[in-house]
C-alpha cells in the first residue's frame, strides 16, 4: 500500500492509471445502475474526471 502511495507521489504511470481506470469504471456503473438517481446524477462527473486523468497520466513515465 505504501509502495503505491510512494509511486503516486513520484508521478509514476501505473498507480495513477489504475486510479483513472477505477474512476471511469465506477462512473459507467453509476450511469447505468438501476438503484439510485443520485448516483446517476454524479456519474458524468466521475467518468469525466477519470477520462481526463487517464489522458494526462498516460504521459507519465513508467
Amino acid at each position: 500500500m505504501m509502495d503505491i502511495v510512494k509511486a503516486m507521489l513520484r508521478f509514476r504511470r501505473g498507480p495513477w492509471e489504475m486510479l483513472a481506470t477505477i474512476l471511469i469504471a465506477l462512473g459507467v456503473v453509476m450511469l447505468m445502475q438501476p438503484f439510485a438517481l443520485v448516483l446517476y446524477s454524479y456519474s458524468f462527473v466521475v467518468t469525466l474526471v477519470g477520462t481526463v486523468m487517464f489522458i494526462i497520466v498516460s504521459h507519465f513515465p513508467e
Binding site: 438517481l37 446524477s41 458524468f44 477519470g50 487517464f54
Partner: protein, 314 residues
C-alpha cells in the same frame, strides 16, 4: 509516344524540381499527410468542439434566427436529473451487456466448432455468416414478422418447446419481453462477426503448440484453458470492443423492430438522442446528451484498449 505511361515518365519540369529539391524529407512528408490531417480536423475535431460549445447554450437548429443564450451547465443538470433518461441508460446497459455476453459465448463456440476442420465446414461458415451481410433495416422487418403472435415462426418455435399458446405472448408488444426481443435479433445478426474474429484467432495458433501439449499428455480440457483461450483472447477482446462500441450507438435495427416501445422500454440512448435533436429540435440539450455519451464511450474505450495491449504483451 503520347501514351499515359510516356507522359508519366517525362522528367519533372526544372522549375518544380528546383523547388522540391529545396524541401527537407520532413516537409515533404508533412505535405503528403496534411490533406488527411485537415480532413480529420474538419470532419472529427471541429464538430466535436462545436458540439461541446453548443452544449452550453439553448440553441435550436430549427430557429436559427433566435438569439443564442449561454445557459452554462443547465443542460447537463437537466439530463443528469431526468428519470426518463436514466431509464434509457438502463435499457442501453441491458441491451449492451446481454448482446455482448450472448454474442461472445455463441460466437466463440461456433468458431471453436468450425475450426475443427470437418467435411463441409466452408459451407457452414458461409451459412452462419449470412445474417451479417443483411441490412439492419431488413433484419428489423424480418424479425418483426418472426415475432408476430399470430403468424410468427418464433412464437411457434417457443410454443413447440414450452407447450404455451403461440398467440398468448407478444415479443415486441410486452414490456418485459421487448428488451429481450431486440437482444435476440441483434445476437442473431452479429454473432457471425464475433465468430469470424474468433476464428481468425483460433487459426493463428500454431499446431506445434498443441502437438507439444499432446506429448506432455495434456488433456483436451487443459489444452483449451492453457493454449486456446489465452492465445485467442486478444481477438476475442477486439471483437468485444467493436461490438460494444457498435451496440452503444445501436439505432436502425431497434427502430425498425420496436420503434423504442412499448412505452420507453427499448428506447436506447441513440434513439432518445435522435428524438431530442431532430424531433424536438433541442440542439443545445441534445449536444450535452451527446457529450455525456461521448465521454462515457471514450473512457471505456481507453481502459479497454489498455487492457487489450496488456493481453497482447503477455
Amino acid at each position: 509516344m503520347d501514351s499515359p505511361i510516356d507522359r508519366a515518365a517525362i522528367k519533372t519540369p526544372d522549375g518544380i524540381a528546383r523547388r522540391i529539391r529545396g524541401l527537407s524529407d520532413r516537409t515533404i512528408a508533412w505535405i503528403f499527410v496534411a490533406p488527411t490531417i485537415f480532413l480529420l480536423l474538419a470532419v472529427n475535431i471541429f464538430p466535436l468542439i462545436w458540439t461541446i460549445r453548443l452544449s452550453f447554450t439553448d440553441f435550436r437548429v430549427n430557429r436559427p434566427n433566435n438569439a443564442i443564450e449561454w445557459v452554462g451547465l443547465r443542460n447537463y443538470e437537466r439530463i443528469l436529473t431526468d428519470p426518463d433518461i436514466w431509464a434509457t441508460m438502463q435499457a442501453t446497459a441491458h441491451f449492451l451487456i446481454w448482446t455482448l455476453v450472448l454474442q461472445v459465448l455463441i460466437g466463440f463456440t461456433l468458431a471453436f466448432l468450425i475450426n475443427m476442420k470437418f467435411k463441409g465446414n466452408d459451407l457452414w461458415t458461409t451459412i452462419i455468416v449470412f445474417p451479417m451481410m443483411l441490412s439492419p433495416a431488413v433484419v428489423g422487418n424480418f424479425w418483426t414478422f418472426l415475432y408476430q403472435p399470430q403468424i410468427g415462426l418464433f412464437n411457434y418455435a417457443v410454443a413447440f418447446v414450452t407447450g404455451a399458446d403461440p398467440a398468448s405472448f407478444s415479443m415486441i408488444g410486452d414490456v418485459n419481453l421487448a428488451p429481450w426481443a431486440i437482444v435476440i435479433a441483434d445476437t442473431w445478426m452479429w454473432t457471425p462477426f464475433v465468430m469470424l474474429i474468433c476464428l481468425a484467432g483460433l487459426r493463428s495458433i500454431p499446431d506445434s503448440i498443441y502437438e507439444a501439449a499432446e506429448c506432455d499428455r495434456a488433456s483436451k480440457w487443459r489444452q483449451f484453458w492453457t493454449i486456446t483461450l489465452p492465445l485467442a483472447l486478444p481477438f476475442l477482446m477486439l471483437a468485444v470492443l467493436f461490438r460494444g462500441i457498435e451496440n452503444f450507438k445501436m439505432f436502425d435495427l431497434v427502430v425498425q423492430l420496436t420503434g423504442g416501445g412499448p412505452g420507453n422500454t427499448t428506447t436506447l440512448t441513440s434513439i432518445d438522442l435522435k428524438r431530442e435533436a431532430f424531433e424536438k429540435w433541442r440542439t443545445g440539450y441534445s449536444s450535452a446528451y451527446a457529450v455525456i455519451l461521448f465521454v462515457t464511450v471514450f473512457g471505456l474505450a481507453s481502459i479497454y484498449v489498455k487492457a487489450l495491449n496488456k493481453v497482447k504483451e503477455r
